[in-house]
């Protein structure tokens, strides 16, 4: 079983290298994180905070936008694209089970994403450390950021697989993936913010809002990272919430793990019903 899963994973990585997907994702993450680190942390010196730590705070917000996008772009084509090309017929006529196939894809895509994050963000960390503006504590924050970004990526990979097994055309799946990104990453926050502004002291603000943040993997990711940094006073915005939370921020991490597990299970159930 393991060898078949790894065969699929290795194939995904090889394709990722060949069509320069990995290179592109790494480049995007590197360029944005370097820009944030070099331009955005200029005032950090006067605050007396580790420059690496404040960069991690900005990168957490960057990850919320970029990682789901990269994950969805990797995943939306995984099943319906193979149906369209006819390769799924051939793969499924081999003695491989469908959950094995999906697991292989997920492992391959996760490794692609991990590589891009480690190299892309790692370049920024290396630059800051080498110029003497980063410390070991900052590196720990950096590692946490990368690890949770991978977890966030897995959540959105799984969303991509669900969309990919619900549609038969990769064009439809691409549209659905973009819609999912827009709703979960942009509109969800706007809606919460709108509701909060409309009634800042009502039952929504105190009872519903914190859990609504927990339910969305993108928000749970940001909540956990900013709370772990204790950087709420530095970055403001959503982070201000973490002190007034009715629960431990680790719950946000648990929510991410749970979401990834549930979405992957859902896609495994859906792929069983597919006629390739």
């Amino acid at each position: 079983m393991l060898s078949r899963v790894l065969t699929i994973a290795a194939q995904e990585i090889r394709i990722g290298i060949r069509n320069r997907w990995i290179l592109l994702a790494t480049l995007i993450l590197a360029v944005f994180s370097l820009a944030l680190a070099l331009l955005g942390s200029a005032p950090a010196g006067s605050l007396g905070v580790d420059r690496l730590t404040i960069t991690v705070a900005s990168l957490a917000s960057l990850s919320v936008y970029l990682v789901p996008l990269i994950a969805l772009l990797l995943a939306f084509d995984a099943i319906c694209g193979e149906i369209e090309r006819g390769t799924l017929l051939m793969t499924f006529s081999c003695p491989i089970s469908r959950p094995e196939f999906l697991l292989g894809k997920a492992i391959g895509h996760t490794l692609v994403l991990t590589f891009a994050l480690v190299i892309g963000y790692g370049m920024t960390a290396a630059l800051l450390v080498s110029t003497g503006t980063g410390s070991l504590a900052g590196l720990a924050d950096f590692s946490r950021l990368i690890a949770t970004s991978v977890l966030l990526g897995v959540c959105f990979l799984a969303i991509g697989y669900v969309l990919s097994s619900l549609t038969r055309q990769s064009g439809t799946a691409a549209a659905a993936a973009i819609a999912a990104w827009l709703v979960l990453v942009v509109l969800y926050d706007l809606a919460l913010l709108g509701a909060l502004v409309a009634n800042p002291s009502g039952i929504f603000a105190s009872q519903v809002f914190p859990y609504a943040v927990l339910l969305n993997p993108a928000d749970a990711f940001r909540l956990f990272n900013l709370a772990a940094l204790g950087a709420s006073d530095l970055v403001g915005g959503m982070a201000g919430v973490s002190e007034a939370l009715p629960f431990d921020p680790v719950l946000a991490l648990a929510s991410l793990v749970l979401f990834a597990g549930m979405a992957l299970t859902a896609s495994a159930v859906l792929i069983r019903r597919i006629t390739p």
Binding site: R4, T7, R85
Partner: protein
């Protein structure tokens, strides 16, 4: 029946109100090359997908080497080449064959040998994106030959290929069958199947309307041999009268005759001497036989 590679027993498949496959039964023996013919939408691909376990049948039974289609033991002996496959363009031919070899639990080291068998050894390290259509089809065949399968399903393996590539495909099919595998292939290009298959199945609107060797089917159909007699200018009418029948057509006369009448008719034509310039003898081709069975079935329906 127990040693059949594939057994299909009164299998029916419905899609909503439309019946795609209607009470079809047949059995394939080891080493047979069988062609499945049928018009577009006759149920060929549906039948293939049921034999692979991708589609559930509504009625009847299918067994692949005694196992349920789609079960692990069935998939281990089955190889399949779908109608149109687009392999990942960024990978090389060798990488793709190795990938499927690993999935099938076969020795990935044999990839080059397989590519050699389909004549792709020189292109093994080139990206599939640079392959021609014939090369891609041969790559698909190499995939279908991995691990010495016992049951090979090929969905229109020669569509879009040039005559030489087609010939290569049939040579490979012959080799595979000689090693004891059953090959079931579907095709539109009927004439090229003559002498290259042992048995022919004809599907029409989901029903199996013929299942036999080509020679037997030809005799069953009782189709006439068509003779075309080219005459001297102006002698058309005379020749037509002498031969007792026929359609006049400018400078030629066309007439049909039964198989047992063939020699008698030909000698009658040669007795006309220099009135005749040339004769075409057109035996019923597989196309004609196919059309006959398919039309008969439609009239009955």
């Amino acid at each position: 029946m127990t040693n059949s590679t594939l057994t299909v027993q009164s299998v029916t498949k419905r899609f909503k109100s439309h019946i795609a496959v209607d009470r079809v039964s047949f059995a394939l023996r080891p080493g047979e090359r069988v062609a499945l013919l049928g018009h577009n939408g006759a149920g060929k691909t549906t039948l293939f997908k049921m034999a692979l376990g991708f589609l559930k049948r509504d009625e009847g039974d299918i067994a692949v080497m005694g196992a349920a289609p789609g079960s692990n033991s069935a998939r281990r002996v089955t190889a399949y080449l779908p109608e149109s496959v687009a392999f990942p363009a960024a990978l090389t031919g060798e990488e793709i064959v190795r990938f499927y070899a690993r999935l099938k639990g076969a020795n990935a080291g044999g990839a080059l040998e397989l590519l050699e068998r389909v004549g792709l050894e020189d292109a093994a390290r080139r990206r599939v994106g640079t392959y021609s259509k014939g090369m891609r089809q041969r790559l698909g065949l190499a995939q279908a030959l991995i691990g010495k399968p016992k049951f090979v399903l090929l969905d229109e393996p020669t569509t879009g290929l040039d005559p030489i590539s087609r010939q290569n495909v049939y040579e490979l099919i012959g080799e595979v069958a000689e090693q004891g595998a059953t090959v079931l292939l579907s095709s539109h290009a009927l004439t090229e199947l003559e002498a290259r298959t042992d048995r022919i199945l004809i599907l029409s609107k989901g029903q199996l309307v013929a299942d036999d060797e080509l020679g037997t089917l030809r005799a069953q159909a009782g189709l006439p041999i068509r003779l075309k007699v080219w005459t001297k200018p102006g002698a058309v009418r005379e020749v037509a009268e002498q031969l007792g029948a026929g359609k006049m057509n400018g400078t030629s006369v066309e007439l049909d005759c039964g198989l047992d009448d063939k020699v008698r008719t030909l000698s009658a034509i040669s007795a006309l001497g220099n009135l005749v310039e040339d004769v075409d003898v057109h035996a019923p081709s597989l196309d004609d036989v196919y059309r006959h069975f398919s039309n008969t079935a439609q009239k009955e329906a």
